[in-house]
């Protein structure tokens, strides 16, 4: 894993080192070129001074040169040297300092003036300039015979220049190294300090687990770049918290719904074991009905969880909503009549739609069953069917508008107690989930007369 801090530190240090090196090199090169130019200018002016001393003399050249005047040309270690040739290479004069050594001959100075570095035995590295010129005539007399062209080479020891350049180089390298070391010390601190909010964020995030989902990242005092991150994280946490809560509540609900039938089963069995004579004649029917109740809870829970995860298979075909509704209606007629309900069916229009008849039947059955179960004696249940709309309305005296949002919650019942009639409060949740799987919706409304209307709206066609 690469830590942002070490990557930043490394890259910054590398960049700063490169910049320092480039700056140092530029300063050095500029200084060297400037110093060399100065040196060359001095060399050239020395050469020109010597050149002015040369005169044409009867087909030859006379150099009115005096070592005494031009200091520095006498000793063998220099620092100055010169040599004069005719253009054809015939040697004319040389400084005493040069001794037996030779400077580069006229052939070398084709495009004079020209500067060259070369080693001179006894004097070390020297810089030479070559000058090709016609010496002037003495006292401006007209020339006698052909004028002679000469080549003058003047050299100077460059040890001073080199020392200066070396000192400069050392100075620059030293300064660079010191700066780099200081940067290496400062940069990690600056970066650590700059990344503190990130570290805080990471620490905060590390503390969050399923039990502390209510925690939120503080966004006060955060740098602008981190604000969108914490905002998104907080949103995510809020959503997670809601879904965790729902799951937790759902788990508790499931446990609660299963506890009572299991308690019944257990106490009945225990009593039959401890006191066999108390065993009721209908004990087996009772056991069976508890088992069926448990089974229906499990089946509906599974269907619900599958549908909510989008795993409910939907097989679209031509389906007639009115015909299905009429079938379900007929199947519940005897129960409704036995409960003393007014049980009505109204067909508003006919027509087929593309839908899944199995899911449709399940939705209608749940709606009708719910209405038949919870309508008080003497109440009315009315099923109204059209091509793509189904409405089941029933008298619900106990229900208030505040209950409507809860109707489709899993395990919700108006009265918090079980009714013991096999209804676990899953039917409407299942019906709505199925309705949505069919691209429709299921809504509930309550009119002033206390009639609850469940409306299933499906896409037409």
């Amino acid at each position: 894993m690469t830590a942002l801090r070490s990557v930043l530190t490394r890259r910054l240090l590398l960049a700063i080192a490169l910049l320092l090196a480039a700056a140092g090199a530029a300063v050095y090169l500029l200084a060297r070129s400037y110093l060399t130019d100065q040196f060359d200018a001095a060399l050239l002016s020395r050469a020109q001074a010597i050149a002015t001393l040369a005169e044409q003399e009867d087909g030859g050249v006379e150099l009115e040169f005096s070592d005494e005047i031009m200091d520095g040309f006498t000793k063998s270690e220099g620092p100055h040297f010169f040599q004069l040739w005719k253009a054809d290479g015939t040697a004319l004069e040389r400084s005493r300092s040069l001794g037996a050594h030779e400077l580069p001959p006229p052939g070398f100075w084709e495009a004079a003036p020209l500067f060259r570095n070369l080693p001179l035995p006894g004097a070390g590295a020297v810089r030479v300039v070559g000058l090709k010129f016609r010496p002037h005539l003495p006292d401006n007399r007209p020339p006698r015979g052909a004028e002679v062209e000469v080549v003058l080479a003047v050299a100077s020891v460059r040890s001073d220049l080199d020392r200066t350049l070396r000192t400069l180089l050392i100075l620059l390298a030293g300064c660079g190294a010191v700066l780099l070391a200081a940067t290496a010390l400062v940069v990690p601190r600056v970066i650590r300090r700059g990344l503190t909010p990130l570290q805080t964020l990471a620490d905060d995030a590390a503390r969050i687990d399923a039990a502390t989902l209510s925690a939120r990242f503080p966004d006060a005092g955060l740098p602008g770049e981190l604000v969108p991150i914490t905002a998104r994280l907080n949103e995510l946490l809020a959503r997670l918290e809601i879904s965790f809560d729902r799951e937790r509540r759902f788990g508790a609900d499931v446990a609660h719904e299963l506890r009572t039938p299991v308690a019944e089963l257990r106490s009945m069995a225990e009593l039959a074991v401890k006191l066999p004579d108390t065993r009721a004649a209908n004990a087996d029917q009772e056991t069976l009905s508890i088992a069926l109740h448990l089974e229906s809870i499990l089946t509906r829970l599974l269907a619900l969880s599958r549908a909510e995860q989008g795993g409910q298979p939907v097989a679209m075909e031509r389906a007639c909503l009115t015909a299905l509704a009429e079938e379900v209606f007929a199947a519940h007629r005897s129960t409704a009549t036995a409960r003393g309900l007014h049980f009505l069916f109204r067909r508003e229009s006919d027509g087929e739609i593309a839908s899944d008849p199995v899911l449709l039947r399940s939705i209608i059955t749940n709606l009708v069953e719910n209405a038949v179960t919870y309508t008080p004696q003497g109440g009315t249940v009315e099923v109204t069917a059209a091509a793509a709309v189904l409405c089941v309305s029933n008298t619900s005296p106990g229900l208030t508008a505040a209950d409507l949002p809860h109707l489709f919650e899993r395990f919700w019942r108006k009265d918090s107690a079980r009714t013991g009639d096999g209804h676990a409060g899953l039917g409407l949740a299942l019906a709505r989930t199925f309705a949505r799987a069919l691209a429709g919706d299921l809504t509930a409304t309550l009119d002033e007369a206390g009639r609850l209307a469940m409306k299933l709206q499906l896409p037409a066609g």
Partner: protein, 220 residues
């Protein structure tokens, strides 16, 4: 000992009532909160077994109203809710104990017995009066070390008298605590039960008749 059992699941209500009756309790049953509250307010129960989720009036509300009315009867909450918050809420509202569904009948019995003992200010399951000893846990009676066989109702009567030792107990009080609402009471039911008990316990005037007042159990 007379109990009230308020539970809306018919099967649970019936099995628990049968079990408790067989163990010598007089049990009244109720299927909803309103009826349960009425019964609890109008009878002198030794303990109430109360489900939390009830139609009409939930168990916690029932408990709250009962306590608000000054009723101190010991209450055992039956709950399908298993969260600590629910239990704490029940206990804070004045319940004395709770039992989570599903439960073992034995545990229900043990907890009900414990509440009844506490109703008479004793934690000891052994009651003594002279050479008479009643083990309320095992429901056994000994006279001078010798076991005495009693019918459940006779036992209930004896246990009640033992718990009220030194007090004069009226015939009505005995009826309230020994018989549940469903029992057919004759005017001399209590007298004949006392008579049968005296015979089984043998010599020595343990149970005395206070004319016009009732009965009293005391060591001779």
């Amino acid at each position: 000992m007379r109990l009230l059992l308020v539970e809306d699941s018919r099967r649970l209500r019936e099995t628990a009532a049968t079990w408790l009756r067989r163990n010598g309790f007089a049990v009244d049953v109720s299927a909803d909160g309103e009826d349960g509250l009425w019964q609890a307010q109008n009878h002198d129960y030794d303990a109430i077994v109360l489900d939390i989720l009830l139609p009409k009036l939930d168990g916690l509300a029932l408990l709250q109203r009962l306590r608000a009315g000054g009723n101190r009867t010991h209450v055992l909450l039956l709950t399908a809710l298993d969260s600590i918050a629910d239990r704490v809420r029940g206990l804070e509202l004045g319940a004395d104990d709770y039992l989570v569904k599903p439960f073992a009948l034995e545990e229900l019995l043990a907890r009900v017995k414990s509440l009844c003992r506490r109703a008479y200010g004793s934690k000891d399951s052994r009651l003594t009066c002279g050479d008479l000893e009643v083990d309320t846990a095992a429901r056994k009676v000994y006279r001078a070390g010798q076991p005495v066989e009693l019918k459940p109702r006779e036992y209930a009567l004896l246990e009640y008298l033992m718990r009220r030792q030194g007090h004069i107990v009226s015939r009505t009080q005995i009826e309230e605590h020994i018989y549940d609402g469903g029992a057919e009471l004759l005017s001399n039911s209590v007298d004949s039960a006392i008579c049968a008990l005296r015979q089984k316990l043998g010599a020595g005037p343990l149970i005395r008749t206070r004319r016009g007042l009732g009965y009293e159990l005391a060591a001779s």
